[in-house]
Symmetry: C4
Subunit: 270 residues, 4 copies
């Protein structure tokens, strides 16, 4: 009973919406820690900084990973208080498989596995919660509207992505056959030509690969025009979404999970 | 009579909308085959992969082309069941001239003609049907809306394309006269300068050709600004199209052909 | 009196809206000639083509310039029939100063002045009239809508252009002071740095000039972000324009000049 | 009393909205001076021009800085007439801390501090007032609408900027770990990789740094796609803002400060 009560308390405290003042303070502390650990990761890759403050960084890394591990385990331990994740084993596994928990796990696991890649920067995604935690109505409303629009227009956006991928395959395959003879190095295979396709359709245009035959240049020109046109689609789809949203009465579709306090991403699941 | 009945059955089976369960299964099988054959085409151009699995690819190519040929001939043979393509010769020729059938023909013909270019990747366009075949209402609705908007706004988009082409001619011709003396190689002729125009108006900017004279740079700057502005036009035109569409009652304009089950692209024709 | 009648007839014939069948035929002929002369100008700059068909091109150029001159003089001669340009001298000068006539003059003058630059490509702008002359309702409606939106939203677009120019001055001046010491060649002066500003704000990014100092790179990053943001403004302004236009009853604001048949560009003047 | 009256007059004269004809003339003169001084700053960096007219520029600089200083001091001296900045010391300090005054200070201070960087180009921002001062209703309306939309949609735009920054951190950190081994020079540290991230997410693509490993290229492709998608957000957010604004009755939210005549930027403060 006592344990269960401690667990319920822990669960509430790790939930900024229901943890009251202390819970909010813990959340802000965790977010500050995330921010600091990201700054540390970024700065550590600068050689002169690493040479001078290497020991400090190693120490700080140990501390932050320890805190993140504690928070992760705390969440996992106390989640059984929530109705949805009640079962001690399967409930916890289900909870561990939510995107938020997976990101948190990825952010600490490499440290224990002795990996050279520090993935804690992945946690940067959690910082987005700042807008909702800060209880600034205008910002959380805006965030909710953006979320609603993205969710309502997901089919349209998925179709745009699929069409763009098809255009990428079509245009890169054609370009390979056109340009391979003239530039066997740059356009060595279709998968290699995908790089050219990406760089052209997004209009980035690094300039490391580009067609030099007249036919290839005409093809590239058309691809770029189509690419620009395709990228007009999501902008206009989202625009119509925002306008529909503005003219509709707010039906509070986007909400917090009543059990664990995590934001519901769509269809009432995490 | 028996043949006619077999033909009607074949026609229905090759039509995912009317073929029932079996027809849908056939359609899914064909789409899987298309996907696999595209993967094969793409991977085969990678030298180490081709060296190792060359024989497998050759075998797989024969099988897929055989299946595509069978499907193509099956459609052509059974199409006379449809009211619109009733006549055994002219009906079939008319049907063979529809975009879908031309794409399918282009996708298999090079194999028989012994061409070195494998055009089966063209079939990637057919994969778009996945959204409609899967009967996921949200996706097929979204696809229909996009189609309706593109069709309704076609005049505006055509005008945008024409104006952009004019800008391309104007700007490239002017650039040729300005820059030819300074860079006779890169700006060797007006058609060659079109390449610069494409790369600049779409803001790709590979960096292989760019003006070096002050006048040429001013001209390039204005062209790029105009180009960016022009590309704001389709985005805004489509946005207004999506909003009009959302506020209008759905009048089911985009539909399947009642005869052959292919999607009607516009004005009730294929 | 007879001359005046001939002049009225000429004026009507050179006006596709009022010239009836013959007038429309003349207009189409002129447009075909414009198209052909542009093709000739473009092709002539290709050396092998010029070497082979040089004489043909010279001959064709003489013919087209002669025709354009005739048309230009015909318009100028007959314009006094129009109420607005009644006066034989000042009326004609006023008419000659309209954009359309200036373009036409620029397109033929270099030939007589023995200039090496062939400016007839400027006439490409006149080809836009094809949509209106062809009397295809959907296209001329779309063209009218685009014209109306561009005119109504002109103040917003002008402000966008002014703000962008200010950003260009600000960002290029700052970049000059930051980067001049490190790259005295590429960032030799503020006007020279404008080239970098153009290339960055439009996101073309040729790659011939870019900052290499950390401060310069931060500045360039912010400029590019601001640039992309600024270019979101015209798209959204035009989108709102198109939507307003679609929801308003058509008030036929954009029209032909009742006197000369040229399209009225804004405020009922040419 | 006399001084106070002189001060009130000075305050009114330096306020184009309330200074009447003389005030407007002064404002126009100042703006012309700003424009000329910017032209001088820009031209002076061109070596041949500086070599020839160096003395003229030095003289002109002294004159303009003197005038700007006078205007700055005049504003600071007379501001106590305004209710809001009444207190001779704290009122003036508060006024000096407004963005407009800070810009003006930055524009003249380097001259007195003997700095080599001429920051007067910062004053280019003040030229935006031309639209409002000129009393051209259409332009000041458009400017007010743009201001209102930007203010109303600020939360959405801030979220977009935050999300983009997160994407920059995520994508650059990941790219560093992927590409560092292959290109230790270009991707030397995460902060250095931010440069690549900026150049890619904005689709500028100078071409000085780009991934060469397949994994890095896939990552770059996804980043660019996400970047393009993210930049569709502000365009669509602003579009919905303009449309809401157009359909709402004008409630005159954006106005001049009743005390000092400076435009109120938001929430009735400068």
């Amino acid at each position: 009973m006592a344990t269960s009560s401690t667990r319920g308390k822990a669960h509430r405290l790790l939930d900024p919406q229901r943890g009251g003042r202390v819970g909010r303070a813990i959340d802000l502390a965790i977010m500050t820690l995330i921010l600091l650990s990201i700054v540390a990761i970024v700065l550590r890759t600068v050689d002169p900084v690493a040479a001078r403050y290497g020991a400090v960084f190693t120490q700080f890394e140990r501390v932050t990973v320890a805190m993140f591990t504690l928070e992760y385990l705390g969440r996992l331990w106390s989640i059984t208080t929530a109705e949805k994740y009640r079962h001690p084993v399967t409930g916890r596994l289900k909870y561990a498989a939510t995107p938020y928990m997976l990101i948190d796990l990825l952010a600490i696991l490499p440290f224990y596995l002795g990996g050279v890649v520090d993935l804690r920067f992945i946690r940067v995604l959690r910082l987005l919660r700042i807008f909702r935690v800060m209880k600034v109505a205008r910002y959380s409303n805006a965030l909710r509207t953006i979320g609603t629009v993205l969710r309502k227009k997901r089919p349209d956006l998925v179709i745009t992505v699929v069409v763009t991928s098809m255009l990428l395959v079509l245009t890169s395959s054609a370009m390979y056959y056109v340009e391979h003879a003239a530039q066997p190095e740059a356009f060595s295979s279709i998968p290699a030509t995908f790089w050219w396709g990406f760089v052209t359709l997004t209009t980035v245009g690094y300039g490391d690969v580009f067609p030099i035959t007249p036919l290839g240049q005409v093809l590239a020109g058309f691809s770029a025009f189509l690419g620009v046109g395709l990228f007009a689609l999501p902008a206009s789809i989202l625009a119509s979404g925002f306008i529909e949203e503005a003219s509709e009465p707010n039906d509070e579709e986007w909400d917090y999970c009543p059990h664990c306090g995590e934001p519901l991403q769509n269809d009432r699941s995490h």
